[in-house]
């Protein structure tokens, strides 16, 4: 398995810049997820690594070898497509053998590799079937099998679960994680589904509008979003945002909560003026006294193990608060809310996290 290094890579389609000066390293054996909304450039990055899109500027190294000018078949990476792209007129074993025949492997070697991959993916009984005779989940396995037999330096996945139904998606996600643990392979995985990103990734690259917003472990991305976009994009339901003012109290810096209460933010020294407070629904507690904000419950979503309350703040926007599954609150109930200070994010007018930059200083 090998590193993948993209250095100062740029890509334009006509006059439109799609990727601008991207530098990114995927470590050997790492499961890296490119996460972002449609049009964020994540698939373009994957296709540039695969060789299906040219790299206009910059360099690409796979396993220490420069690859940006090599054709796709010679980069020693395997790709699993969103719609699997199984050749309809070839059997499962034919699909898996095609790539190996092209590199001139002997029949015995091809048969051995197919048998090994089929055993690993538990699809030995499917080898003589044709793609049309397979279910969505089985096709997905064959597509992965076709990648495995090539023994590539890295696997590239382009939204491989998006064509599966919800139950199968969850199961295949777990299987993919297990497969990665067994193969210890380098994986670049593109998705717009944050659950996939959070559950599968060693590291997540959050992309928006053709640039990298943040690179970090799933927990870093979730708990310490670098930008307002990341905060809003990752997590379901999304993070709540409330406009607040900063205020010095002696030498200590803090913010004025919607209730008018001053909240100290230790370590935050470079913030001033109006900022946006970001807080996740599970970091807000319902209390009897000493509230940071007050409001009225407008909508109740009971999800079984937890309840989501949509609360209209008395002085602020509508926010979502997580309560226990057996919440006794009703619509129009008044509530008092307290923020978990350690989970607060602050975003300046430029959308970047102020608190994070302050804390890191």
């Amino acid at each position: 398995m090998s590193d993948i290094k993209l250095s100062n890579v740029s890509k334009t389609f006509g006059t439109v810049s799609v990727i601008d000066d991207l530098t990114l390293t995927v470590h050997s054996g790492e499961f890296l997820v490119l996460l972002g909304p449609s049009g964020s450039g994540k698939t373009t990055i994957l296709r540039m690594i695969a060789g299906l899109e040219t790299i206009d500027k910059g360099t690409l190294e796979i396993g220490g070898h420069r690859c940006e000018s090599l054709p796709p078949g010679q980069r020693q990476v395997a790709m699993v497509f969103q719609n699997y792209a199984l050749y309809p007129h070839m059997s499962v074993s034919g699909n898996m053998a095609f790539g190996l025949e092209n590199i001139g492997l002997g029949k015995a070697e091809i048969a051995a590799r197919i048998a090994a991959a089929a055993k690993l993916l538990e699809m030995t009984s499917l080898l003589e079937r044709y793609p049309a005779q397979l279910s969505g989940g089985q096709r997905q396995r064959v597509a992965i099998g076709r990648a495995i037999v090539k023994q590539p330096k890295a696997f590239l996945f382009d939204e491989p679960l998006s064509n599966l139904d919800a139950a199968l998606r969850v199961r295949t996600r777990v299987e993919l994680a297990q497969l990665h643990q067994r193969l210890k392979s380098t994986v670049v995985y593109v998705t717009h589904d944050q659950t996939e990103a959070m559950t599968l990734a060693d590291r997540v690259v959050v992309l928006n509008n053709r640039h990298v917003e943040q690179i970090g472990t799933p927990m870093e991305i979730y708990h310490r979003p670098a930008t307002r976009f990341v905060a809003g994009f990752v997590g379901s339901p999304a993070m709540n945002f409330i406009q607040v003012k900063t205020k010095l109290n002696g030498k200590k810096i803090g913010i004025v909560a919607p209730s008018g209460k001053w909240i100290a933010l230790p370590g935050a020294s470079n913030i001033k003026g109006d900022v946006e407070l970001g807080i996740r629904p599970e970091s807000i507690n319902i209390v009897d006294r000493d509230a940071d904000a007050t409001g009225q419950v407008k909508i109740i979503e009971r999800l079984g193990e937890r309840t989501l309350l949509h609360v209209q703040l008395d002085k602020g926007p509508l926010i979502i608060v997580q309560d226990s599954g057996l919440s006794k609150l009703n619509i129009n109930s008044p509530v008092k809310l307290k923020f978990n200070v350690s989970q607060i994010s602050l975003f300046g007018p430029d959308g970047k996290s102020s608190l994070r930059s302050a804390a890191s200083k």
């Binding site: 695969a50 054709p71 010679q74 050749y87 095609f98 790539g99």
Partner: protein
């Protein structure tokens, strides 16, 4: 209300069916009459009234047409010409359609427009050029001379293939590229096997069109031995004098292979006609 609407739609269906049957009869009657007449003795054929069934059934005219003309040789000429034109047209059109649809090369759009422009030129206008060219190359009265000019007759096949390849998801090509397949292997291992249905259909119609083609074979063959069946049967008049039944028997023999092709490959022929509908110039 419901009942009356049902009534109207039933009457409409009956009207349309009756009209279709009438038109079909008008279409099929001359053919049937021709076949029936070819089975009558000559004196029954020239009677001044219509007899729908022969009083005396005879296969003599077929025997005479087969034994006293070169129709066997004409069949071979037709077969070689039709198979040659069909196979070369299909194979080159498939490659051309694939290249225009899938490969990125400078001038691709212009090449496609040029092929589209070919529809504006009736093949008849090329006849003189073709004749002079073939004569200068000493290819008149040869199979090659019969085949070569007809290779440009069916640009529609290129367009049908191009549209087919356009419709194939690009991921197949990309998957094959990732599989380290060469352009040639992508074409013949991935794309070609996907279009056997359309290839069969197109091959059958090109075969039929070529078999039935008259003008170029009529000009390119100046000797009895080198004629194709449709050209040859016009010579039956000279060979037999005015024997209508014999000429009809020869005509039936000429049409027989095409009729059989239609019967066996009806579905494919319909598919090919549908595919090229609105394109064919």
């Amino acid at each position: 209300m419901k009942g009356s609407r049902f009534h109207i739609s039933r009457v409409g269906a009956w009207l349309i069916t009756s009209l279709t049957v009438l038109i079909a009869l008008a279409w099929v009657f001359p053919l049937c009459w021709g076949v029936i007449s070819s089975l009558k003795p000559e004196d029954e054929v020239v009677r001044p009234y219509i007899e729908l069934w022969p009083q005396t059934l005879t296969f003599d005219h077929y025997y005479t047409a087969l034994t006293n003309s070169l129709i066997g040789l004409w069949y071979i000429n037709s077969l070689v010409t039709a198979v040659g034109v069909t196979s070369i047209t299909i194979f080159s059109s498939m490659l051309c359609g694939y290249a225009i649809s899938q490969l990125n090369f400078p001038g691709r759009r212009y090449l496609y427009m040029l092929i589209l422009a070919c529809f504006m030129v009736p093949t008849q206008t090329l006849i003189i050029n073709h004749f002079i060219l073939m004569a200068n190359m000493h290819l008149l009265n040869t199979w090659l001379g019969m085949i070569l000019p007809q290779l440009v007759y069916y640009p529609v096949v290129i367009i049908v293939y191009k549209q087919f390849f356009d419709g194939v998801p690009k991921e197949f090509r990309e998957a094959a590229l990732m599989d380290n397949a060469s352009e040639w292997r992508i074409f013949y291992r991935v794309y070609m096997p996907m279009n056997w249905g359309i290839t069969t259909a197109l091959a059958i119609v090109v075969f039929i069109w070529t078999w039935n083609n008259f003008l170029w074979p009529f000009l390119a063959a100046t000797q009895n031995e080198t004629m194709t069946v449709p050209v040859g049967i016009t010579q039956v008049y000279n060979a037999f004098g005015v024997y209508i039944a014999r000429r009809l028997a020869a005509a039936v023999l000429a049409a027989l292979p095409v009729v059989l092709l239609y019967l066996f490959f009806q579905r494919q022929v319909t598919q090919a006609i549908t595919l090229s509908a609105g394109i064919k110039g």
